[in-house]
Symmetry: C2
Subunit: 175 residues, 2 copies
DNA sequence: AGGGCATGGGCGACTTTTCACCTAGCAGAC
DNA sequence: GTCTGCTAGGTGAAAAGTCGCCCATGCCCT
């Protein structure tokens, strides 16, 4: 399961609670993956029962105790194995293209509206990615780890830009 | 469910069996969606029970009888509603970027290998898309329906190309 | 005579994912 | 005073999707 690997990856950076993980998914990971709260907690307990992580309860003042999850040596090995293992090519899933594929029966202006809606989404995404990118620390980018994390954001940017240029072409030549 | 819409879309072009649908998913739809055989059959019976499609058993010589599924008027309405309805923006899911994000701990040559593997995949995909694209009929492209179907393939091509240029950059600047 | 392959349809078990709901304390706004 | 939101950690149920297996026929190849 990919989610288990991603969580293991985050735990390898520092111990975290399910709550912390959710916040990371919503911020730094969000441009290439996201996960439901329930799923995170369930996967976390799976990691513990399979020996890839351990829990430590840390009491806090004025707040509920933190169930801090720590990666184990076995967990680090599993993570390493995943990182260096063969690529699992997953099938493409673009629901929007499903609409385009079957949009031949629509009126011309309905198709134009569909493309415009997609453009609005893409432009919004583009702006948010660029903002995130601009906030990155230059010093961190010089290091391999920071460079690679930024590269995943760049991936998003490059792809949104190609989406926009595709939209230009499709709109421009629509018969 | 998106799968139900896509099946409805295919049935709107012509009546089909589950088997026919699977073949369409594996060929023309494959570049933006795919579905499991079991899932197709299940969704098909859902469509029938919800009145969006009907079944007609067509006996054949030397072959098992075809369970031909026909779209109903209600099915066409549902399809239309989906096509013109608001976009359902789905979260990004790129397992490969998960690896890149956590690849900071790897040796430099392991990272290079990871990127090279991705490049090989992308190049293979690119070649297959270009082949498919070259086989398209020029006459069909002039019509709106054919133009839009081709556009979904172009989408795949544009995105694979941007993937390759991203790989160039990441490999070239890797600290 | 046997094996593989294409046509056609399907079941059962499983995992993954989503959705809604629940607990509980504390802070700040209205 | 109540209401929203944040901290924290869940549960239960349903939907969606995957995996392995099953049935039948008939063709071609060796």
């Amino acid at each position: 399961m990919i989610l288990a690997r991603l969580i293991l990856g985050l735990l390898s950076l520092s111990p975290m609670t399910g709550y912390d993980l959710k916040k990371h998914f919503d911020s730094s990971i969000n441009h290439f993956w996201n996960a439901d709260k329930a799923q995170i907690y369930r996967t976390l307990s799976q990691l513990v029962t399979s020996g890839l992580a351990t829990v430590r309860t840390v009491p806090q003042e004025n707040y509920p105790a933190r169930q801090e999850h720590h990666i184990t040596a076995a967990g680090r090995t599993a993570l390493q194995d995943w990182l260096t293992g063969g690529l699992d090519r997953q099938p493409a899933r673009e629901p929007f293209l499903g609409r385009i594929f079957f949009a031949g029966g629509l009126e011309r202006d309905e198709i134009v509206a569909l493309l415009a809606a997609r453009r609005a989404e893409a432009e919004e995404l583009h702006a948010s990615y660029r903002t995130l990118r601009a906030e990155l620390d230059d010093a961190a980018l010089a290091e391999r780890r920071g460079y690679l994390m930024a590269a995943t954001l760049d991936h998003g940017i490059v792809h949104v830009e190609s989406e926009l240029s595709w939209l230009d072409r499709v709109e421009g030549n629509l018969p």
